[in-house]
């Protein structure tokens, strides 16, 4: 059965929501609104990212507009999310090539290292992105 693309995009959020429930259960009290809200916010963001004509929006609100900074910020956020996804894809691909046997020996350790590497890489990219935009005059 083919899983729709949107559902596939939500899969990490569902896993994260399940993880929240497990943590709460471990703590002895489950607030069901927490995972529900997590999924709802992620779904809303996904829909907004897909449906809102961001480029046209950014062009329509010129530098003189009071919404310009907000539009620019959202556009930067969108760009950085794509960097984050690209880095994650690259690291997970490298992990799959290094440990092709899923659940096999070393698979969990390599996955943990890969996820830690994503975090480190994203920090480095964020630092460079921030520095580049600062030098271009954004935030001044």
């Amino acid at each position: 059965m083919r899983v729709p693309r949107a559902a596939r995009l939500l899969l990490p959020v569902l896993v994260f929501a399940a993880f929240l429930v497990v943590l709460q259960a471990w703590g002895g009290r489950i607030d069901w609104w927490l995972p529900v809200r997590t999924i709802a916010v992620a779904a809303a963001v996904l829909v907004a990212v897909r449906l809102v004509p961001w480029a046209a929006l950014l062009r329509r609100v010129g530098p003189g507009s009071r919404f310009y900074a907000a539009a620019l910020y959202l556009w930067m956020l969108r760009h950085f999310t794509s960097i984050l996804l690209a880095e994650t894809r690259r690291v997970l691909l490298a992990q799959r090539l290094a440990a092709p046997r899923r659940w096999g020996r070393g698979w969990f350790a390599s996955l943990a290292s890969a996820l830690a590497a994503v975090f480190a890489r994203v920090l480095v990219r964020a630092e460079r992105f921030y520095a580049a935009q600062l030098l271009r005059g954004i935030g001044r």
Binding site: P63, W75, A131, A132, L135, R136, G137, R140
Partner: protein
């Protein structure tokens, strides 16, 4: 004459007691192109970040005769190794116009100037496309156009030929020669530096091994080997 950029005895390390840069001194005058060559991990990018005041180095750095401040960034253009870190707008025309808009220019004035910079880089026909849809060579040129659009007095480029093929690197060298803007270029590409810069400094283990006219430095094979670039 006051140099555009002057750094004296720069020392910097990410960890205490492990300096990446050790007593670096560089000077760049108006209209001059200076190359900094070194192998991987020599400290080229770190040096660039320190010169820009993005990393807190010991020693003194003067940009346009003054201490480095956010105000001095208005007069410089920077091209990072990865164009994705710089270009993020809906089109490369918007990206080239952004620094102009941030300097207070009206869109009607900023966009033609941005278009002019893209034309110089041979990218006018791609102006409405986002950087993500362009080849790496085109993205590098777009980043250069965005840096050149505000007509900076000083241009700093970090590994501009990394991941570029030979013809693209040669074209980039021609473009930089034609701008007449003072440049500081870090690279390990000796062929590119030989075509582009007037003076070359060799950086190894955080120290300047040699600095002089590019032909003179490039003719010393022993020195290049010591610097890890040959």
């Amino acid at each position: 004459m006051t140099p555009l950029l002057e750094a004296r005895e720069l020392t910097f390390g990410y960890r205490k007691g492990e300096p990446i840069l050790r007593g670096i001194s560089v000077r760049l005058d108006a209209g001059e192109r200076l190359g900094v060559a070194g192998g991987n991990g020599a400290g080229k990018t770190t040096l660039l970040w320190c010169l820009l005041g993005l990393l807190p180095a010991e020693g003194s750095i003067r940009l346009f005769g003054e201490r480095v401040t956010r105000k001095s960034w208005r007069r410089i253009g920077v091209v990072f190794q990865n164009p994705e870190d710089q270009l993020f707008m809906p089109s490369i025309l918007d990206d080239a116009a952004l620094p102009l808009l941030n300097r207070g220019l009206a869109p009607a004035e900023a966009r033609p100037r941005a278009m002019e910079a893209l034309e110089v880089m041979g990218l006018a026909h791609e102006a409405e496309r986002p950087a993500a849809e362009l080849s790496l060579g085109q993205r590098k040129r777009a980043a250069l156009a965005a840096a050149l659009a505000p007509e900076p007095e000083l241009l700093l480029l970090d590994e501009p030929t990394a991941e570029l093929d030979r013809p693209s690197a040669r074209r980039l060298a021609e473009l930089l020669r034609s701008t007449h803007t003072a440049c500081l270029i870090t690279s390990h590409d000796l062929d590119f530096l030989g075509r582009t810069v007037h003076r070359l400094a060799l950086l190894a283990s955080g120290r300047i091994l040699a600095c002089g006219p590019v032909a003179e430095v490039l003719s010393n094979g022993r020195l290049l080997e010591d610097a890890g670039v040959l």
